[in-house]
Symmetry: C2
Amino acid sequence: MRTAFYISDGTALTSETFGHAILSLFPVEVKHRTLSFIDDENKARLAVEEINAEFAAQGEKPLIFHTIIDPMIKNIVTSSQAVAFDFLDHYVAPVQAELGVEPQPRTNRTHGIHQDYSFRIDAVDYTLANDDGVTTKNYPEADIILVGASRTGKTPTCLYLALQYGVKAANYPLTEEDMADLSLPSDLKMHRHKLFGLTIDATRLQQIRDNRMANSRYASTEQCEKEVEHIESMYRREAIPYLNSTHASVEEIAAKIMAITKLKRYRY
Amino acid sequence: MRTAFYISDGTALTSETFGHAILSLFPVEVKHRTLSFIDDENKARLAVEEINAEFAAQGEKPLIFHTIIDPMIKNIVTSSQAVAFDFLDHYVAPVQAELGVEPQPRTNRTHGIHQDYSFRIDAVDYTLANDDGVTTKNYPEADIILVGASRTGKTPTCLYLALQYGVKAANYPLTEEDMADLSLPSDLKMHRHKLFGLTIDATRLQQIRDNRMANSRYASTEQCEKEVEHIESMYRREAIPYLNSTHASVEEIAAKIMAITKLKRYRY
């Protein structure tokens, strides 16, 4: 099997994104290996040893996706027995021509601390303190309040919104009691402009719940179908925007919510 | 000011990473705008209207960083009054030559649901249930247990480890009582091979705590200095690997921990 190395003088998050985006176009299985914080010549030489050992073991040249700026370190890494793809190579010159400004590369700049960094930590704190409907008293400070049945992905989505986008995301689980009179719980009514609903196919909900509480009423087909039906009809009646999380990853749900609500984000 | 557009038929996370990595090399201020899920011709035409309006407003051509595969949609978007950079353009042909395989592009492939997706959700569940030392009984299932003084970044780091890498990360706050006898709490002793310490400069810790509880003993300079000193000396004595989070983002701390511990990750 072919091995792909993601190499950087920093977190390697950019190199990973770069390599995955390219490799995901090809129907091949690849072994992945990240070498982060390769920021001196000694580490670069150790990386080369590992790359060459992988070539010897697999019999095929590894692929290297990298974002290394320092020319000495880059020279060492690309002297290995691999095919190297330099993410910055192709774009710096044309962007420079368009901007009319010289680049000022610094090591490990992309994923370092930004000025607006504390927004994200504050957002994570907020999201944890307002998870799963434990309290509704902080909803005036929420940027968004996710609602939905239990196990539709509210909590991971809220955490991703906070960590990736710096958004203060609360969430409130809609329960059978909430649905009993088929109307919005009163704590939510006054914040309805911040509500966003999640839903999920009943068969998938049933599987997820069954993994957690096998053979319970909570995980029964009837219960899941009833909850989903009631909640979706409530979303429509109350004109709450919502989306179905069945076939979506946390990243996709969060990005869709950002696109639909046009929420301000604190980090780019 | 120049405007940068990040455009994709999916989450646009790759386009954002691509554009940020390039732009972070240049000392220019840029206005950012993400257009995600541009997956039909109508949305593409609306995107063009927005890009052209931005050109009219700013008087400088916007920069477009995109990952659009569909040729019709790509043609529409790149017909706008902007300078477009295509992330896939330069790399697909050389990677294809090396792999000897035709690409099979699918829309929105990179950040969709993977087979190992449930690992990440399970990891988030685990991390939330084992945050802040609320319980130690699940430590046998932990991949890693972060320890450190209050407000050193344990919780956001654990959540990032779970969401990004699918790692089950518990965390345990080291308190004054824990430090009183200058030894590791007994609940931690039996899991010492999973421990990883965070520390922080005392002056920065003091600032962070003062923002939360101004003029408290918890936020006093003396208290912060004493805690940091005791905890760091304990890390050294007990040979617990640790790092200083003062100048590091959550992404950097998490990536460093992954590099140092060589933890298995469930997502690439």
